[in-house]
Symmetry: C2
Subunit: 292 residues, 2 copies
Amino acid sequence: MSAKIIDGKAIAENLRNTIAAEVADIAARTGAQPGLAVVLVGNDPASEVYVGSKARQTVAVGMRSFEHRLPADVPEAELLALVARLNADDAVDGILVQLPLPAHINTDRVIEAIDPAKDVDGFHPVNAGRLLIGLPTLVACTPLGSLLLLQSVHQDFSGLSAVVVGRSNIVGKPVAQLLLQHNATVTIAHSRTRDLPAVVRAADIVVAAVGRPELVRGEWIKSGATVIDVGINRLPQEPGAAKGRLVGDVAFDEAVKVAGAITPVPGGVGPMTIACLLRNTLQAFRARRFGE
Amino acid sequence: MSAKIIDGKAIAENLRNTIAAEVADIAARTGAQPGLAVVLVGNDPASEVYVGSKARQTVAVGMRSFEHRLPADVPEAELLALVARLNADDAVDGILVQLPLPAHINTDRVIEAIDPAKDVDGFHPVNAGRLLIGLPTLVACTPLGSLLLLQSVHQDFSGLSAVVVGRSNIVGKPVAQLLLQHNATVTIAHSRTRDLPAVVRAADIVVAAVGRPELVRGEWIKSGATVIDVGINRLPQEPGAAKGRLVGDVAFDEAVKVAGAITPVPGGVGPMTIACLLRNTLQAFRARRFGE
């Protein structure tokens, strides 16, 4: 038996198409257009690539993209002043400050300076709190993308047990809250968990978000379980290869033989993240401009 | 074998004594005194009793107690105006609006109107979010009290598995976050959980916060586990009795034979809640007045 492959690329494309249609419809009816501002500090190569993809996809769905680049040694006060201007700018519905920030900048302070109504990354404490409480909110993109992929397999999670491996603020904790909201029985496991294989083996849904290449083995997976692999790890370069191979937190070749459904890496959760960013921008736009 | 009884009454008294000593010390050094404002809308008898206990204990540890009573039909705007005045009042370090509120008042709106720095109930989304993210915050009193009782048994929860039965915003979800922060492997179970007895039986720590009398049976408890019973349920009155017996969410007489340690009801989590409210008021006072 081989698992169904959850095609994140196709699901993300569908989502982008739905967003584009809605943006076009709103533009035709009202003339209004959502805008997303992305702030990049410094020139970390991975961040550059990511910011570039965001800008292209933002424009592709019919939204306005505003890119702000600041030097790596920008004073924190200057970054905060930019955030304040974007908060006040009515053409900006979503604000994303690309992380990580240089060490001299207090990341928490910058995130808390963003207007929660424009916090399309869902990292502001108000939005994290609204998620915990179960109020409507902007949900962090990777957790939201993981949920949508799970929902392509399961209508509802009632009676299912889910394990989230990893307790980060940007993935593990919010994904656990989303699973709980959707009625899964949720276990959060992490580096201090005793007998992680047994904990994973008890779960109908496994979300791996720990950042350790192929940590979760095939023999840890319950037969027929749904596996969402959030990890993207680059292995050391092998002789003759241009660069190291990308792998997830799950040993895919093993797990695919046991699971009922599984996301590949790349092509699983990855493409969903930017699609969910656009979805959040549209949500923020509708809430701000039409009170929806 | 019979479990160690976790004496919430004694632990709460110790905590209040520590707080009183610190309040006296600060008063002697600086002349400043923490103040707690409690707002009661209407005259629900249980709320009256609870508010009365809070005021007495507040004064007993050397803090100032401000009680505000509003009629059950008070317009929401008037309650919000009172909250705004308390936010602005420098003598007030903590604000607690006693719940439940009458149906014509939007509870979320009232909670969100409280200055998060004075939100000693820990219900404001900013404080819930800071808890989720792991930032310093005011933690809701009953979850905090449950944690302190657990810490009277376990130094650290690394390698231990915990199950929280119940996913309410005021107990289940925050208690799960606290356990996770302290390195337990945490499972959140609830009404939709399949085979709850098996889920509970796997846990080294059980927190029952579901509001169903004696739902958790002794045979569900793993031998030697620590059991925190947050439930307080009054059973129907028996013939000849003045009122019904108080029981928790755990069948105490059964569980005490299996558990390693267990809280009684009453006298377990209950007394901790007000003690933790005073602790939060002191924390808010120190943060507001001395930036600690």
